[in-house]
Each structure stands twice: as C-alpha cells, then as structure tokens.
Symmetry: D2
Subunit: 314 residues, 4 copies
C-alpha cells in the first residue's frame, strides 16, 4: 500500500488544529457543556492490524449515541430479526429527538439510531432484568470488542442526563402507550442513559469498531455477528447514522458512520479500517463539526468511499 496513512493523519490533525469554527458543544446535557472545544483526536485501526493516531486520541469522551451501534449488535444477538418488528430501517428525515414520526407510525421508530429507536433497543436489551444487569452486560461487550477492560461509565454524565432527559422520557412513555416499550420508562432510560455515558478514547472506539470492518469477525478470533448482520449494521450507519444529516454525510464522506453528541464519530471502511474521530463542537445537525470535516478529508485523501471501485482505494 503506497498510501502513507501516518502522514495523512498528521496533516489532518494539523489542519483541524488550525480551524476556527469548531461548532457548539452540546448544552442539553449539563456535564457535557463544560468540555473544552479545542480538542481533536483521531484513531484508525486497519484491517492489517495497525493502529494510527493523531491529536487527543487517548482522551476519553462520552460516546453517547455511538453506543447505539453496540447496543443494536447486542440486541440482534438476543432477539434476532424479530427486532425489526419493533424498529424500522428507514432514515427518519427528522431530528434525532423528534416525536412526530412516532405518532404517524403507531409507536414504531423509523430506525435504531434515532433516540426513539435506541430506546426500544434498550428495552430489548433490558430483557426483564434490572438496569444494572443490562448496563453490566453492555460494558462487558464493549470491553470485549475493544480488548480493553479499562473502559468505564462516566457516572457524572449519566447523572447529568438523568436530570434533564425529559424528551427521552416523553419518547419512552409515548412508545409504552403502543406497547413498544415494555419495561417502566424509568428503568429503560436508566439503562439507556448509562449506555450513552460510556467513556472511551478514539483509540478504544476504533478498536471496538473493528468487527464492523471485518464482516462481523472479532480480530482476536471468533465471530461477533454474522457477515450479513455486519453489512446491515454498516448499511444502517450509512443511511441513518447522522440523524437528518445522514444523506449529506453519505454524499460528502461516503462511508458508514455513527455520531454522538459527545463529539465522537465511529466510521467504518469495510475491509480496510475502523476509524474514530472526536471533537466536542457540534454543527447544526448535532454531529461533530471537526470530526465530520476530518472524515471528509480522510476519505478524499485515501479514496476510502464505499461508492468507488475498491481498486481506487488506498
């Protein structure tokens, strides 16, 4: 491979350091509002086993909605394709926390990556247990994916979100009226909020995402999910991973990705790389401002688009 990925990462990190418009840090979760926006990290785990990093790649951040990818993987392992009776697979065309679509579609969320859909997934993962059991399982799963037992939940973030999560409480109760949430809303949200409060660095997140570039295989051996499911999760990330800017991300970047309001994005180049970027400032659609730019530049420099001939890719 003639592509010098280290140089590309260094260039991008330098470019991002010089950017003035870094977006706005999310304020609706008070604990996140205090994060310094002048941070940027990137980590790339390649299919041939390398790890390349730039910037604040070892600083932990709240993965927030990126956790929806791991939660979905877990839920598919539990209930299989029956999950799709309770959650759709279509882009929503609305903001991440919209409730109107639920009313038109009888409590069935459009996809598992908007809040409503992720709450249904959390309800599935709860499976009759107490929240701490489900939270423990999720944490063990993410540690296993990343091969790193130091990953933990930031309890201050979880507490912060609990206090202000009125919209999520509305979504959960609304779906409970349609019997599409089956545990008490407080329990489901307790579990959901802790899942979102998992803290990871770019390095850890890229490592955790490797199974999605490897058609479902764990790099350490064994299989996390079937190839078909890995491809489908990648498809969902591409069509639904950036809320109502998913189409634009696919258009500009061209690889599956899932963003979170903590400023992290996990992006997958099948067969090539699992990428994590992080910068806390968000754009108008709620996706990391510099993170999106960095991925667009990375895709441009490497040719890593799922929409180009593989031969043209780095």
């Amino acid at each position: 491979m003639s592509l010098d990925l280290s140089a590309v990462i260094a260039d991008i990190t330098a470019t991002m350091a010089s950017m003035e418009d870094r977006g706005q840090v999310a304020t609706y979760i008070p604990e996140l509002a205090t994060i310094d926006p002048a941070q940027f990290g990137i980590a790339i785990a390649t299919a041939d086993g390398r790890m390349l990093t730039g910037g604040d790649a070892d600083t932990g951040f709240s993965i927030q909605s990126v956790s929806k990818v791991f939660a979905l993987t877990l839920a598919l392992g539990k209930v299989g394709d029956q999950l799709w009776d309770r959650v759709g697979r279509e882009p929503s065309g609305n903001a991440f926390n919209s409730i109107t679509q639920l009313e038109h579609e009888q409590g069935i969320p459009r996809n598992p990556f908007i809040n409503a859909g992720a709450i249904v997934v959390a309800d599935v993962n709860l499976g009759g247990h107490e929240p701490r059991v489900a939270i423990g399982e999720m944490l063990r799963f993410v540690r296993y994916l990343a091969g790193d037992d130091s990953i933990a939940i930031n309890e201050a973030v979880a507490a912060s979100e609990t206090a202000t999560g009125f919209r999520n409480m509305a979504l959960a109760n609304y779906m409970r009226a349609f019997d599409n949430v089956r545990h008490p809303a407080e329990l489901v949200l307790g579990s959901y909020i802790h899942q979102c409060a998992i803290e990871m660095s770019c390095r850890q997140l890229a490592l955790a995402g490797r199974y999605l570039m490897l058609d479902g295989r764990h790099p350490g051996g064994g299989r996390v999910i079937s190839p078909r499911r890995a491809r489908r999760i990648n498809a969902l990330m591409l069509t639904c991973g950036h809320y109502d800017a998913s189409g634009d991300f696919a258009f500009r970047v061209g690889i599956p990705g899932k963003s979170g309001v903590g400023g992290g994005i996990l992006a997958i180049v099948p067969g090539r790389a699992a990428i994590a970027v992080w910068s806390p400032g968000l754009n108008a659609s709620g996706n990391s401002c510099l993170g999106t730019l960095a991925l667009e530049e990375l895709a441009r420099r490497t040719g890593w688009s799922v929409f180009s001939p593989p031969e043209d890719r780095g």
Copy 2:
C-alpha cells in the same frame, strides 16, 4: 474470479419465473397499466467488459424514475454544485410524490430522486430552451452512455402521463411559488415526462449505467463526470434511490440502486458491475417486486455489498 455469474443469473431468472406474488403494475399512468406482469429481465455489464443477461433482457420498458440518475448527471455538468442550492441530499422519509415536505422546507425538495427534486433538475436542464431541445439533449446523452443510438422515447407513454400528471403539476406550481421552478410548469413537465418515457431494455440500461461503476469514466474512453461526482451519485442512489424504502433496500441489498414505476431498477457495484433488472409488478413502496428480490438474491450470491470487505466480493 471463481464466481460463475452466468449460473447465478440463470438461477435467479428461473427462481423469478416461479414466483407467484409479482406485485401490482402501476396504474396511474394508463399506458403502463397494460403491461404484462409476467415478465422479468436482468442484464449485468461487468467492469471487465462482459455482458450477461437473463429472461426478458432485451424487451424495452419505460425507465421512468431511473431517468432521474441521468438527468442529475446532466444537470451537474451544466450548473455544477450550484444545483445543491435548489435541491437537498437527504432521504425524504415520504412517498415519491409527497408535497408536504416542500411546504415545511420552503420549496426546496429533499433530494433529486423524489419527483419534486427531479422536476427542479428538469427545470435546470431546460435552461431557457424549448422542451424539445432539452428532450433531444437527454436522449443523445443516454444513447452515448449506452453506446446505442436505437434508444427512443415512447410517445404513447409520454402522452398518457401528460393527461394524468396532476400531482406533478401541483409540485411544479408549488415550487414555482418559491421561485425554485423558473420555467412555466407545462414546459418543465413536458420535458420531465418525456425524459421518464425513455424506453430501454435491461441490456441498454446496464450499459448506460457503466460510468457509475467506473468512477465516472466512459467505458469507451473519456470521462462522463469526475470521480467525486460519480461517488456522490452512487451515494444518493443508496440513500434516496427507492423512495421511502431506500433504507430497506440498502439494508437488504446493500448496493446503490434507482428504481422506476415502470418496474426497472439500475444498480451499481462500484468497480464490479452495472446491473439492470426489470419486472413490471410493484411492491407497496412503488419499487419492482421481483426486481428487488432478484437484486437481493444476486447480492447474497455474489457478496456484492458495498458494506462488506472488497475481498469478500465475487
């Protein structure tokens, strides 16, 4: 390549011949309502220059909305990225002929593959000329892409649609109120309807789509569009190519595709193949019932998903 694509095509063609549920032929264009639903064709143009076909691959059909791909390519050549000031790039979450989104978003259609967006594209392509000039240009462009000068417009279909296209007339007038359609609605729709009434066989359609698997190059030499634009058109096909079932198509099939109510679908495997399938019966979302199934089976048999490692593909 160990994959025996001929055998795969033969199998799929045989399977489709045995299917009982073939969906419903579109009835809102009277001329299309008379088509025999017991037809199925498939044609694959590979990157290494082969052409493989099955079933009714040489029967002409109305390409309808598949033409939106070619019209978009043409419009990008005329006005470049300025086009995106007038059309969005997001999945719509609504039916192909919905008007409500236009009201919320001030006359800017969500993407160029829903009717409203394609009408804006047709307005761009009209460019101050009479409809017959724009229609002639479009026809020459498609013939050039396919390398086949016998491609023609079915005037009976065009006339049939003119008489009943009240919803499209509503969309065009509505956007004209926002100055996002700039020619008289009758002229824009005259051009749009003729573009939709282009008749092609699967063989011709697969040939015409080759530039999208070749990163924008014409297989006969030269460049139709830049690699970046080719990738972006593929991205739009994946996120928006099947109306409000686009997410499901990406999930199940995993390759960019654009469907039309004539029952045709053009699908692109970057670097590998341009595929055309056709069967007139439509499913509830207005996409070819057997065409979708055939592509899903083809993707499964060949591993042709943009979401899998390229090494795993046939």
Copy 3:
C-alpha cells in the same frame, strides 16, 4: 315562553332510548370500559332557575375532559391572562392526545382543551403545592359552582388512569423539556388525573355550568369570573370543545360545548340554559354519540343556536 321544554326533553329521552347505534365505550381507561352503554341522561338548568331532567340524570359519571372547563376557570383566576403565554387559543386540527403539534410549536399547546393544554393548566393550578392540595381546591370549586357538597372523586377511576396514562406522561415530559411544565410530571399528572376523575350526575354538571350562561355570575350571588372571561371560555368551548370534531359540533349544534370520554357533555346557551347530557358510548372522534345527537335535536327543537337571531330562540 311558549316552548314546552319538559315535552322536548321527554321526546329526546324517548328517542335516545330507541337508538341502536350507541358508539363504543372508551376502553383506554379500564375502569370506564365496564360502564353499561345503555344509559342516557339529560339535565337543563335554565336562566330563570328551573331544572328539567330526563333519563339517567341523577346517575354519576366520570366527567373527564369536561373538568378542563372548570380547571381553566380556576387557572385564569390564579394567573390571569398570563396563562395565554403558555397555552394557545386555536383549534388544533388534531386528535385530543396528539403530540406532533407540540413539536412544531415549541411545547406550547394549541388550546387548553386538548390534553397537552389541560396539563399546562394543571401545572398552573398546582402552583408549587402538593397534588392533594390542588385536587382539594378543584373539588371545592366544583362543589361551589354546583351548590352540592356531595360531589366527589372516583378513586378507582383515578387509579385506573394512573396505570395506563403513558401518552399523558409523554406529553407532560415533552412540555417539561420546553419548560412549559414546571413541576415533576408525576405530580402534575397526579393532579390532572384526579381532576378528570371527578364524578358528577347530569343534574350536578348542569348546575355547575350555570355561571357560563350567566356571563360569569354565580346564580347564588357574586361573580365567579368577569363577563369577558365567561364569554371567552364559551368561545373556546365552541371552537375547541370537541377535539377534531369541534367544527362539526359548531356546525350541527351551534352552541358552546365541552365533551369528555366518560360520555358527558356540558353545553351552554348564553342567557338561556346550561345543559348536561351523558351517554357512555363514544363516536369516532371520542365524543358521546347519543349526547351529541341529543344536543343537536335539542338545538333544532328550541332554536338554541348562538348563530341565530335571539328572537328566534325558545
């Protein structure tokens, strides 16, 4: 007055007894689902102090949303026209429990008679106290209006609704996200649900509504509210009192009215009569089927429309 109101009531009561289609009893509040639909009552309190009744006029029923009229009156007494900063005055065009309008309008409900609006009113009436204080105040107010201290809350109905009120919990939390509900959702709904569970007979309800026919005066002396507010409450009942069938009720019956899913309707003929009807079976819009028919017939027989010359009224 040559109109023999007793005879009219007797006729209507007889007609209603013979009706076969009585609609469906509300099932979403389990305790209400058990009510015998073969009941009908009517009571008319006239401006000259008479009380005329027919059918099951002394049977108690759950007033449910009719309570929104009394709660609004109370809240206007507390905070005056500042209430209108938090609740609109327009018909909603949506079902009584719709949440979509709230999203478009930043947590401000369209009017105080849809659930979302009534929850804001309950939040105002809570006023920093515990729910039992607000509930006690409401009960005392209704007893004072009706001049009947035997009016009470049906605790079984309240408990029944508490267990299933997921949509109301969603509405309350959703508005709390916009700071338009200011107490914890459980407390607001605890108060709201008890207010809805007040049990009254037609006789009691007609008596309680007299102040609205008397331009705000209590028939026993003194003033409940100003004439201007009484007229405005009547206006809101006319434009918004029957959810998304309010226009039809105004069209067919022509007098202000407020319905509840318990099957009761309070209707006001300014200067003439306060009318209560009750029959538990609901029509498709959630309003009492026989109650609506009875009021339409009563208006026809008496000429009691606010849209006719007063001289033409009985």
Copy 4:
C-alpha cells in the same frame, strides 16, 4: 335601544385614524400591493334597517376571501349538503394556502374558507359552464344580496392574481389528482380569481351580508337560504373565518367573521347587525390589522358577542 351606535362608530373611526401600527399590505397580489394603508372604513347594517358608517365606508376594495361566504351560499343552493362530501367543516390549524393537510386527508380540504376548500366550491359553482358564466352568476348574486347593481369585478386585480397564483394552481391540480376538482385547473382558477376580485365598499359589503343576520331572509323579502344553512354558515365563519387565527378572533371578538387579504372583514351579529370593516394593512395571520381591532372594540362597546346573554347585548 339605549346604545348610541353612531357615537360608537365615530369613536372607533377616530381611534383607528390614530393607530400607528397598521400592519402590512398584501404583496403577493401585485395590484393590491399599491393600496394606501392609511385607509379605514366601517359600515353597519342593522336588523331594523338602519345603515351607519364611518371613515372610508364608500371606498371600493377587493373583497378577496370574503367572497368565499357568498360562493359557499351559492354552492349550497346548487348541490345542497352533498357539498360536504367534498369539503370538511373543521378548522384547519394551518395557513390559508397550506397544502399539507390535503395530502393527509386524500384531497378533501378541511373547510370551505381555506383556499383549497374555496377552489372546490368554485369547481362546484362552475358546473360544466365556462368561467364567464359562473362569474356572471356570482356577480348577479352579490348585487342581489346588496341591492346594488353597481358592484363589479376589478379586472386589473384579477389579471394580477392570474399571473402569480402558483400556489392556487398547485392546490387545484393536487385536488384534481384525487378527482375532487373536476374541471381543468385553469378554468376553476379563472372563475375563482374573478370571484375574489369583486370590488365592494364597506357599505355594499354590509348590505350584502344582511341575510346572515336575518337567519337567511333577504331584507327585501323572500329567502336567500334556509335558517339552518344561515346558522351553519355563521358557525363556519366563527370557527374557520380567519385562517389559523380563527380561534383567536372568536376569543377576542366573539362574533362570526370572514376576512380577506384585501383588508376587508364581514362580521355578523345574528338578529342585530351585519358589519363590514376595511383597512388594507394585514397582521401576521393575514387578517386586517385595524379591521380586527375595530371589531374587537365594537364588540366590547356594544356587548355584541354570540357568547353573552342576548339581554346583555346592545
């Protein structure tokens, strides 16, 4: 009657002359954009046959949507209650020219006073004839109601609207797709636009509205429509006469009224008065700014609310 209506009118006219905020003159019809906003007129035709005027009561203006009242009356005379199969009777909750509701409700407009509904009424009144026949009939009808053969159509306004009526063209074509408009859109709109371009003074408009205060009787003898229909038209004016500010008008003014973007409002006090006010500046909802204020003040001074006891009215 101790009320000195002349003095009230003089006071209101003087107050209005001193108002600084007069709203914005409608600009989307170019011919209307040139009107001097510093004009105000009022005319009251009383049930006892008097005519009282103030300000520019004899200046002609474009009645625009006020014509929907007369068109509805005419259509009910032609097809009776079958009209209600094609038009609803509910407030729309949307702007006057909204198209989204039509999509949700299969081409059936919410009520006859939003543009979509008025276009259906115009389609009914066209009745297979050429627009000039329907326009002639409408003009004769309005002249008969007002007892004034000098009323005419302002052809410059009609021509002005024809050129820019893209939204109405969208509405008409959209409903034609549902077969709820049955003549070609150009013909229906040709008729509709001429009806809107009728020019009347306040004096003429108040005279034309007398049948609605007289329970359907023509003051010169005979019956324009049945009492039931007159009441129902008044009900529709109250619930739907001011677009998405209808609830607010009912709340603040308390009498049925219908506004037009020319700045005119016709208001009806059953049994008492037919009132016309005019001032060209519009508020945010598209209703006459001073006209609304004048009616609110008039209602306050006279007690003319349909929601008060008749005895309390002047």
